[in-house]
Amino acid sequence: MIIDTTEVQDINSFSRLESLKEVYGIIGMFLPILTLVLGITIGVLVIVWLEREISAGIQQRIGPEYAGPLGILQALADGTKLIFKENLFPSRGDTRLFSIGPSIAVISILLSYSVIPFSYHLVLSDLNIGVFLWIAISSIAPIGLLMSGYGSNNKYSFLGGLRAAAQSISYEIPLTLCVLSISLLSNSSSTVDIVEAQSKYGFWGWNLWRQPIGFFVFLISSLAECERLPFDLPEAEEELVAGYQTEYSGIKFGLFYVASYLNLLVSSLFVTVLYLGGWNISIPYIFVPELFEINKVGRVFGTTIGIFITLAKTYLFLFISITTRWTLPRLRIDQLLNLGWKFLLPISLGNLLLTTSFQLLSL
């Protein structure tokens, strides 16, 4: 009996209607991934252009202006140039580690884009443990840095890789403790739940006001995780030539370059999701959410407003981090590690304990 019914089901699935449904299923699986990767690529191109234009403005010079109108295609031109450069392998270096290092750094950052909500129901996968996935996967990046540093047969690369890995892991703990405080406030680790918990009072519902210390620590820790100035030591030109990126050429260097901007973009997106209210319009009492129908599935206007708001908040934080780069001097390695372990770690730990105590003892 069972064999008969399964055979009948198999024959039915080869009929045209069933196979069309499967094709639509497969396309429905690929379309979000391709849209996300396309969006990320355009985002990185915009950030590279923005960084060069804003840096130029701060330094009172003109930025790129030859590649495309206003220099928009500069990042694309840089990427194309890097594809055509020679792929050098350092002699007596470890070839496999050398090749895989940049890929691991890029892969670990790209995978954390899958849990960011760009608008209601515009998230690749609404996991219950969304922020945990981000923290866990981004912890793999220091392995890639160590591989790159060791695989180039160069003592500057080796030291640079060790310093970069030490910096990355030292600032992960305050970062994780801040994220834990936010999870506590929203009673869930899912990014969509965290955004929805901030949607009640508009502007005043942001987690920024409930966790000011956490915001401060998260800002500093994410700048340190992205290895941007003032935490730029792995790329310090005066000390380490170019740190772990010294011996790289061609698209592997391009992968490091892209990884840096991808990390910046994902940190900015997480700042908006965790602290600034995500895709909610944040003007209280004037724009009732039902007016723009943000929380109804399938409303195109509402979802585009959500995407627009998320990106506006993200670019605010990007602007802040780019101007910080040209404002503050670089920290020395022991000052950097002291800041991470002896200042940010106790503060974020105290923040978490205060948050739990206030939440539970005031009820």
Binding site: M29, F30, I33, I83, E86, N87, L88, P90, S91, R92, S99, S103, V106, I107, L110, L111, L124, S125, L127, S152, N153, N154, K155, Y156, L162, A165, A166, I169, S170, E172, I173, T176, L177, L180, S183, L184, N187, S188, S189, V241, T246, E247, G250, I251, K252, G254, R332, D334, L337, N338, W341, K342, L345, L352, L353, T356, S357, Q359, L360, L361
Partner: protein, 134 residues
């Protein structure tokens, strides 16, 4: 298979495609000067990569391991804090107290200190007798 699992397969595939494009399209003309390690003004010696490095890096990684495991054990508490009410809070506070005592001990032993010549010169100049956390 869901979108997420395809994404996890697609992203490494994308990065390997980029590496393959570079291998195909780039010239390949290695010679000894180009392949040797970078050094400014002289030829690099053999085997400088595999020399000693400071033990502080290892100690930082070890401490990171401990604190990361501590945070890992806090993740379930954070999503179930309301269910566990004040009893869970007290248990968590005792947990953090024990780990904080360990942290204070290793701070006192200067485990997180990197010896730098700049700081040593500063201390001899200002004649500090007792450096606690510096």
């Amino acid at each position: 298979m869901t979108s997420l699992s395809f994404f996890f397969v697609f992203v490494p595939f994308l990065s390997f495609i980029l590496l393959a494009i570079n291998l195909l399209l780039s010239p390949h003309l290695p010679y000894q000067e180009k392949n040797s390690a970078f050094e400014c003004g002289f030829h690099s010696f053999l085997g400088q990569n595999r020399t000693q490095f400071s033990i502080s890096f290892f100690i930082f990684a070890l401490l990171f391991l401990l604190f990361d495991l501590e945070i890992l054990l806090v993740y379930p508490y954070v999503v179930s804090a309301y269910t566990n009410a004040v009893y869970g809070l007290i248990v968590m506070l005792v947990f953090f107290l024990v780990l904080t005592l360990g942290f204070v001990f290793e701070l006192g032993k200067n485990a997180l200190k990197i010896d730098s010549r700049q700081m040593a010169n500063l201390q001899t100049k200002t004649n500090k007798k007792f450096t606690f956390i510096k």
